[in-house]
Subunit: 340 residues, 4 copies
């Protein structure tokens, strides 16, 4: 009844039930003396917020981050940074009718199995709302590694699939994080229709990471691919993780596989080789469908809102491994590529 902690040197502990007083995060291991900007942090949270687009749930909670510690005069102190977000829109009465109901695909029953009791007002710790703590953690992680660029987007929702993957991180992702104008419009229309029918949709999210220095990741259990995998699979509704298109490319003859360096996804032996890391993730359709969908508060598809969470988890993993490798930097021969 723990495991609310992630990362070895750069380390986040998240807390808060979806319908409790507040959610938040303690970030331990932050680099001191770094300028922060509360406005930027607020914008990151807005990217994850519901109600940004009419296809989302209409729950209009405004997620206002409040920094409790670790920052003084807009500079990090090196001490633990705590940020909380109050739960203002706790329409828990809506949930009272769910007191005895276990929504399939939610953690309602498994929470009882595990703890012997649960907060019936909502998803508790298993709620997607917990992910705002990760977005906050990701904001601070990103400040440690400003030269590394993270870019996530939706490549497919149901049968709507983009035909071309963006080659750089400047491509506009539109209203719902689909970097293809035509598909974006079709998906918006489809999701509106889903919403009206109490239906939901899932799909594929991609994450590209550029500028990772060589040598990050450890050769055995803490391979970069393993830690990226854990970080992403810990996101609610994420059920699949692959480097590049490995479920297809693994079927190629070895000689063909090796010709395309993209198939290694920026890692060899689990250690970064300096090239682009490219990941594909499967997100299942929202479980709250049909009669279980609560009036007006139903999100037919969480993919658009999950994009900043995916980027945040990527930043947390890379920042942590960056600091882990940094322990040894002063001992390494200077001709070793250890670009900061």
């Amino acid at each position: 009844m723990s495991g609310n902690n992630f990362g070895k040197i750069f380390n986040i502990t998240t807390f808060g039930e979806s319908h409790g007083e507040a959610l938040g995060v303690v970030i331990d291991g932050m680099v001191p003396g770094i300028d922060i900007n509360i406005h930027d942090l607020h914008l990151e949270l807005k990217r994850r917020a519901p109600g940004q687009h009419h296809v989302h749930t209409s729950r209009k909670e405004e997620d206002v981050p409040q920094i409790l510690s670790g920052v003084f005069n807009n500079k990090t102190l090196g001490t633990p940074i705590t940020v909380i977000v109050k739960n203002t829109s706790q329409r828990s009465e809506d949930y009272d009718k769910l007191k005895q109901t276990h929504r399939p695909g939610h953690a309602d029953q498994t929470t009882i199995d595990k703890y012997g009791l649960r907060d019936h007002r909502g998803g508790g710790r298993s709620s997607g709302r917990e992910t705002l703590a990760r977005v906050i953690g990701g904001y601070f992680a990103g400040l440690i590694i400003p030269e590394i660029s993270f870019y996530a987007y939706i490549s497919q929702v149901a049968h709507f699939k983009i035909s071309e993957h963006p080659q750089n991180h400047l491509v506009d992702r539109g209203e719902i994080n689909i970097p293809d104008n035509k598909i974006s419009k079709e998906v918006i229309e489809y999701l509106s229709e889903c919403k009206s029918r109490g239906e939901s949709a899932g799909g594929i999210v991609c994450l590209s990471i550029q500028g990772v220095p060589k040598g990050l990741g450890e050769p055995v259990f803490d391979k970069l691919k393993a830690d990226l995998g854990k970080s992403m699979l810990s996101i609610p509704a994420c059920l699949g993780f692959q480097l590049g298109s490995s479920f297809e490319s693994c079927l190629l003859p070895g000689s063909d596989f090796s010709k395309n360096s993209m198939n290694f996804s920026g890692m060899e032996g689990g250690i970064s080789n300096g090239e682009e890391i490219f990941i594909k993730l499967a997100f299942k359709p929202t479980s709250t469908v049909g009669q279980n969908a609560i009036n007006g508060r139903h999100d037919p598809c969480i993919l658009p809102r999950v994009i900043p969470v995916v980027e945040a988890m990527g930043k947390i993993v890379i920042a942590d491994h960056f600091l882990r490798q940094n322990c040894y930097a002063s001992f390494l021969p200077s001709n070793t590529d250890q670009s900061k």
Copy 2:
């Protein structure tokens, strides 16, 4: 330059370079008073050994496990169990020519990038040989949870794909861990041909876990799916992980997705619900191909040998979460399903 450790309560630390004196594992957190059988352990290692079948590399090292600690009179003491395997077949002269060569897809260059030097005799810690330490760890993990059954198999190599997945764990997996006689034969033929051409092949491995009690896994970062994901993605050559067929099922409408409980793969909210856990893994083709293939010591496909490693990592994750949950068992109401 660490990360050689995996698990929180049941915890393994592996060590050893592929061409060093010995490889091994320290298992901390083992349950005391459990009967062990060195013969069973030896058999597990044989399942992973090369040279079991002519399609494999002909390196015929016999991996003899030697228990250095933690066991007395064939019973576990509860103290750390250390098992080593000596490297008898160190034909490192074969590798001397590779001193300046970096094999693409291997960790040769990234190891230099990371450490500033490497043991040029072989893959070092990134070698597949490291996985025998995991098989040893898995043997002991399995003793803690004898009622839980683990069954891994190959479902596809290149374009050879089994048509039906076994419904129970008694189905014979044949010579190379493919539970389909016809496909098995075709793959053996194909791999023989690959070997002669210096070609290699990858594919898909499945893992079924049956009998997992309800309530294992933690709701946030240490979700069961996240820890299973990390454990599998830490295996060399594993580039993809999905619950069930989530990269396909995630495209279904939510109402259809939810109808098939198999799509949840035995977990809701990251916590086990008592049903079967079913995982698919992508393994890339061996990188050592063509002119890089060393005479006679080239494995055209590692999938047959990776099967016991996949089962071992599964056992380690489940045993660890079993003990983690066990901490709280005496506090839970008896009507909570916490079957031992």
Copy 3:
């Protein structure tokens, strides 16, 4: 720039600068379904608060605990419990004059050495104020192990020394936690005088723990004595730790030493044997003396206020080891003494 985390299964992460927005703690690994009482928690914090007695600093901040997560309807959920205390009395202007001053014995200079900057408003993380987070953690730890009793007291301040150690935990500890009426009065008088002179005093604190089940503690690094030692030595101003009177008893001939079971302080081989654990701690005099003493906010002796902190750290260590051992309880033979 981390280490704000303590405990393995029952685990606390503390945060907050002495003069920041708030201080607090996240408690991970709490047992679910336990009744809590916010009033009791508040009382514990009052025991640590300044201004309880006229010998203390007159800073009259009221430390009001606010639970943000992990509790619902006054029951623990098993999820992380977060409690914060707002810093209401931030007279930081008082500290502005200290901006360039480094108070000897404080962490002012070492903080700069470590982080390159610091929050000049106060002691930051090194402040004694951080310990209120520990008291909160200790409250919840204590709920897990209600049969185990913790009793700390002052045995000596400067040359004022109690002549007899209480034999049970019911002995009244008086106004300033000295279980000897006469000495208590003398010390109060002495400290009042110290205060008027800008002088300070240190002394010896004792902790008795009764009712610890047999078998807690691990035989090597996580010996119970080692974890108790770390927990106590992590309290600001604590510079010494001994089991019983070991700095004296270690000079006895072995035959004499062994005759008195008190010399083992309830542990053999670092594992609890069911007898009383008795610890002595040295606390140095407050460093802020003479011209550095800020008008009216100077505490001549922190020992009276450190008592609940010492008990809290003891509870955290024992609760953690209790849960660690509990992992294995169901596997042990029933004749093993593993009283819950």
Copy 4:
């Protein structure tokens, strides 16, 4: 049934029962590319070995270190270093008579209480023999921080006390690690007599650490004093830890205490300030006395042999904190004192 692991970045896992096949250590987090010298390591182990002096037990096991991994061509690889020592002198038949006997002060009974069974041949993991693994770990830790000097010695055995503490680390420590010729001779005579009577003696050990850079240690739980405390109190028979003479100096008026910078023992707020760290440790008399003393294999006083263990634990703590701080070094302003 764990806790065989110590350190966060520089990390050791020890294993092995006193009378099992072998004892050893896995060192994870070692810096790569460092020259090692197996002869130096062997010499360190000899300092800890019994039978070096006639006052010790006559068990003449030769502890020969065997490196299994992590070193190639006498250079560290950055991968886990495993070193084992075979148990050659397993006169376990001597111990058979102890099968049903629980030696007071040993962990015999508490081991049964904890695990439900034990290896009756000896002290198992609680044996002093486990400490050779720490000496090995300390050797490698020392290579990371060659400019930092560690010097431990005996200052008192029973009532024999040295009158002056050495001011530098070059002072000869004589045959039994007492840097005072006269006292050394008296103690040797006293211990010979103890041995003949089946009596034992304890005493005080001091550790001086010079050359520690400023800024090591974390301000809350992982204070340098707390981690040093845990490391020392985890050594068998160590029952007390104090910085300088804090159990005496804490009784001084604050103004006097602060005048002598030695009282801070090189740390302020738990963070190193660049000055000497000076620690005193209480070691109890050996428990095996009188009729329990096995013929000829009884050590009347373990203090002379514990000296290299104390130094080793000091090196492990400081090397770990050095690497922890090193993570952030490249981010700190250059005027921060972060001497390598």
